[in-house]
């Protein structure tokens, strides 16, 4: 039986692996989540049981002594290390997830802590909380979790509530789409025949167009920017769960994670070094909650290994022709029990951002910020709407669009210059209209600099230039390093800010303008703190020549 610490490590990996830098992490724990983790880490549970029972037994054994919660040992003096309280927090979230399933109405604090006591296998104390867990004690554990995520360039959904909901809001905030809503979505997917290969953005576009959803889901679909990314990610997960189960009904509990999923791709744009010709490749997203495995994509011309290139994404593979953009692609994937295919959804457009790790490259990477230059890859059937957006002073771009063939066009250096999208009808370009709408009034841009690893960390002496972009004439920026304020001043939007981020440390940048806020985190590391990546001769690499592979000083006959 896995120990508490093993569950703790598994939960951290499950929540953070596959999360792109800058994204929000939900510590969503349900029977389904625990089964998926358990099956991937330790195989099928014994008999017809669920991994939930094993998880709770491990938590109770380590965190409960003599019918009292023992939590002080989880608080770590070294905040850079993996927090020890994540499995305990997971049990708190599990208690909330069951409540959400049972009752559609109000959640009362006492009811919640009664559930938590049940989960911890102990009676409720006289203070209305589990004995040994004084009011607010769990906030320290949530704070450690948030700090740990921030150090890795990730955000957390953990938020306290108001009044009597202050503490129960933390576990409830870990679930973006409650189980009841997920079941509604599964039924919806079954009725409308949504295919497994759609990405979250495509699912959201179809849901918006078709309507008829509950209020909570409709509200989620109005979100923009990074908040919309979270919704897209959650929708894609529900769709994949639905197809993995093969049924709209609730999944058979012991088989809950046995189904396979698909890797959904975006596109990655490179240029030929000599001709400048655009070359498109598949850019697979690393699904959250799926453990990395040695997988290969079976292309018609042979297999290509999948390797994680940066948090949330695999290295680009294969190639994409203009016709593939219209029709989509699907290839088998081998090497994992949990992934069986790689798909490129058929879409009418792709909004590509500059790859911050590769000058001159563009990729379908998360939601653009205000004032960012983009490359719009779009089918010409949307051209009249795009031209209309330009006429209405929403968009501007450089030069005439480049023709790729198959009806596909590239708009270079496209920039959203207007914020009056609600006043301009979307026409046939509904999804594109949603995607181009700025996520808010302002963004913080980080430009240049040298990144240490693909996790958002910059090298000492090579920090990026900071620029606040806003749809207003003024903004205010505060910068802190390791929680100590180092800069606080009004800044002119669009101009480089004279703030130096030289010293190694964890920086947080917060910009305000007209009641809106934008936050960016970044880490600066010393050269001496860089750690060599694990690399062996068994991995793919080196150059092939004369029937041999030469990699550094190593020579292998092929």
């Amino acid at each position: 039986m896995p120990t508490y610490l093993e569950w703790n490590a598994a939960l951290i990996e499950h929540a953070t692996h596959g999360a792109p830098v800058g994204s929000t992490v939900y510590l969503e724990v349900s029977d389904e989540t625990l089964n998926r983790i358990g099956v991937q880490w330790w195989g099928a549970p014994a008999g017809q049981t669920l991994w939930r029972g094993d998880f709770l037994a491990a938590v109770q054994e380590r965190c409960v002594a003599q019918e009292r919660v023992s939590f002080e040992w989880m608080l770590s003096p070294e905040r850079q290390k993996e927090p020890l309280g994540v499995a305990f927090l997971g049990a708190m979230v599990l208690a909330a997830s069951k409540m959400a399933m049972d009752e559609a109405g109000q959640v009362h604090e006492r009811n919640y802590f009664k559930r938590l006591s049940d989960v911890l296998g102990m009676p409720l104390g006289s203070q209305g909380r589990p004995p040994g867990l004084p009011t607010g004690a769990e906030e320290l554990l949530w704070a450690e979790w948030v700090h740990y995520l921030r150090g890795r360039g990730l955000g957390s959904s953990a938020r306290g509530g108001e009044g009597s909901h202050r503490f129960i809001a933390y576990p409830i905030s870990q679930c973006l789409i409650p189980e009841g809503q997920k079941q509604r979505l599964r039924r919806f997917f079954a009725e409308r025949g949504y295919p497994a290969g759609w990405d979250g953005e495509t699912v959201a576009a179809h849901l918006r167009a078709e309507g008829g959803l509950p209020k909570k889901l409709t509200e989620l679909l109005t979100r923009t920017g990074a908040a919309a990314e979270d919704v897209y990610s959650a929708l894609q997960e529900v769709l994949q769960d639905f197809h993995a189960s093969g049924s709209q009904a609730a999944l058979p509990e012991s088989m809950v994670s046995a189904g396979t999923r698909q890797l959904v791709c975006g596109v990655y744009r490179e240029e030929h070094w000599r001709t400048g010709e655009a070359l498109y490749r598949l850019f697979p997203r690393h699904p959250r909650g799926v453990r990395p495995a040695e997988m290969a994509v079976q292309f018609p011309w042979g297999p290509e290994a999948l390797s994680v290139e940066r948090p949330g994404y695999y290295r680009p593979v294969g190639e994409v022709q203009p016709g593939d953009l219209s029709n989509g692609l699907r290839f088998n994937v081998t090497g994992s029990l949990f992934v069986d295919a790689l798909v490129l959804p058929a879409r009418e457009y792709w909004l590509l951002r500059r790859d911050p790790d590769a000058e001159g490259m563009f990729a379908s990477l998360s939601t653009p910020g205000v004032g960012e230059h983009l490359l719009l890859l779009v089918h010409d059937r949307l051209l009249p709407d795009i031209q209309r957006f330009k006429d209405q002073e929403l968009l501007a771009w450089r030069d005439t669009p480049a023709v790729l063939g198959g009806g596909w066009l590239e708009f270079h250096d496209l920039m959203v210059i207007g914020n009056h999208w609600t006043d301009v009808p979307a026409g046939k370009a509904q999804a594109l209209h949603e995607a181009l709408r700025p996520p808010g009034n302002l963004s913080i841009h980080l430009e240049g600099g040298a990144r240490a690893q693909r996790a958002g960390a910059y090298l000492a002496g090579a920090a990026p230039t900071v620029r606040v972009m806003a749809f207003s004439v003024d903004a205010h920026l505060t910068v802190s390093c390791d929680d100590e304020p180092i800069f606080s001043s009004s800044v002119i939007p669009g101009e480089a800010v004279a703030v130096t981020l030289k010293q190694p440390g964890a920086y947080e940048l917060i910009a305000h303008s007209r009641g809106q806020q934008a936050v960016r985190s970044l880490t600066v590391v010393a050269w001496e703190d860089l750690r060599a990546t694990d690399l062996t001769l068994q991995q793919e690499g080196g150059v092939e020549l004369n029937g041999h592979r030469i990699w550094g000083a190593q020579v292998q006959a092929l």
Partner: protein, 416 residues
């Protein structure tokens, strides 16, 4: 970036209509200028007019105020100073209502909440794999410790595009692309790194190389990925132009490569085979390019393609590449390899000089062999070649290795 706006009154969006007269485009520009001058664009965020309107028309102002229909007094006073805004309709309107009042599409003029389009600054495209001759002649020293720190960066990242390597180099004070290219070449020679024509680089797996010194004793040095941590018994020797040579007493858990130079020589093809391994370029349009041909000493202008040889091809945008013409094929590779193959074809290569006593091999600077062959010489010692009066001197090289390498390349060598 410049930006229109001011005042800061976020709130409800609604519309007010005015009876306007004249040419709509002129009226729109005049009103927009007025609103910007008066700093009213946070309240009046856009103007609309029916497309194709003439003479008498409705001009709609999109307003953002706390309450619909209620304009702050100071803004109301300012608006009444504009000669085109004297006849407002009394009721506040919604978007649907103004669309109902217009017989066609509405043209929008955004005022507040807009950004000025910025032109993108384009960096000059570098081709990191076309090592120019001047790199090899340039003997500027790199900043102290830069090679070692760059290796730490490469080892932490594993693989990446050329731009990331350039950015890390710049952070270390190596701003000149030529110097970065030079350092990267040295990292390849020392067995730390590979680079690929598509523009990516990849660090090599860590290993300890074990070689026998002229005195018979054993020497072990590290190749491949590493970071700043040193284990007991590890000693770093600085060397100009590259990372440290790290000597180790024990290999530990690292794999040990016994005299890998010999294995490398065995694996390499002869010169003819090497030519066929080079990347083939597509067609070369000699009319669209400026051509210079390698004479054996330098590049000289030529009117057209005159036969086999090494050419410098410069496109109208100023980008140059070096390419080897053999028959109908154009091939591309690192410059030293192309030059060596050309000199070989011209019978201009001199013999190598070998000192059996010192176990040193001297190669003329301008005749250094293709890089993978040169890597075998460097891996004999883990040291970059010394530079002695126009000769590159490689250390701890044995006679059998010289014989094998010279045989592969069709060269002669003299025992001095």
């Amino acid at each position: 970036m410049s930006l229109a706006g001011g005042g800061g009154r976020a709130g409800t969006r609604w519309f007010r209509a005015y009876n306007a007269y004249g040419k709509p485009a002129v009226v729109i520009e005049s009103v927009a200028r007025f609103l910007r001058q008066e700093n009213l664009t946070d309240t009046v965020v856009s103007l609309r007019v029916e497309r194709g309107a003439t003479g008498e028309f409705l001009l709609f102002l999109a307003m953002e105020t706390t309450y619909p229909g209620v304009v702050p007094e100071d803004v109301e006073d300012a608006l009444s100073d504009c000669r085109h805004l004297l006849s407002p309709l009394p009721e506040p309107l919604t978007l649907a209502q103004i669309e109902g009042l217009a017989s066609g599409d509405l043209q929008i003029k955004a005022l507040g909440q807009c950004l000025e389009y910025r032109q993108v600054r384009r960096d000059i495209q570098e081709d990191p794999f076309d090592t120019e001759a001047r790199i090899l002649m340039k003997d500027a020293e790199l900043p102290v410790g830069a090679g070692e720190k760059l290796l730490w960066f490469l080892s932490a990242t594993g693989t990446g595009p050329w731009s990331s390597l350039r950015a890390a180099g710049a952070a270390l004070g190596i701003l000149d692309a030529v110097q970065v290219t030079r350092l990267v070449r040295h990292l390849r020679l020392l067995g730390h790194l590979e680079t690929f024509p598509a523009g990516r680089w990849q660090v090599s797996p860590p290993a300890a190389v074990e070689v026998t010194l002229p005195g018979g004793e054993t020497c072990r040095f590290l190749v491949g990925a590493r970071d700043s941590r040193r284990r007991p018994g590890e000693r770093a020797e600085a060397q100009p132009g590259g990372p440290d040579r790290v000597l180790v007493d024990e290999a530990g858990e690292r794999s040990v490569l016994f005299s890998p130079a010999g294995s490398l020589v065995e694996a390499l093809p002869d010169a003819a085979g090497f030519v066929t391994s080079l990347e083939v370029l597509g067609s070369v349009n000699e009319r669209a390019l400026k051509l210079r041909q390698f004479s054996g000493e330098g590049f000289v202008s030529c009117a057209g393609i005159t036969g086999d040889g090494l050419y410098e091809l410069t496109s109208p945008d100023g980008r140059s590449v070096h390419a080897l013409r053999r028959g109908r094929d154009w091939r591309r590779g690192e410059f030293t390899a192309l030059r060596f193959l050309t000199l070989s074809a011209m019978n201009l290569l001199g013999p190598w000089r070998f000192s059996a006593d010192a176990q040193e091999l001297a190669v003329r600077f301008d005749e250094r062999p293709p890089e993978l062959y040169e890597r075998a010489l460097v891996l004999c010692s883990g040291l970059l070649p010394g530079n002695r009066g126009g000769w590159l001197v490689y250390r701890n090289v044995t006679a059998p290795l010289v014989a094998g390498l010279a045989g592969r390349l069709g060269l002669t060598w003299e025992n001095t």
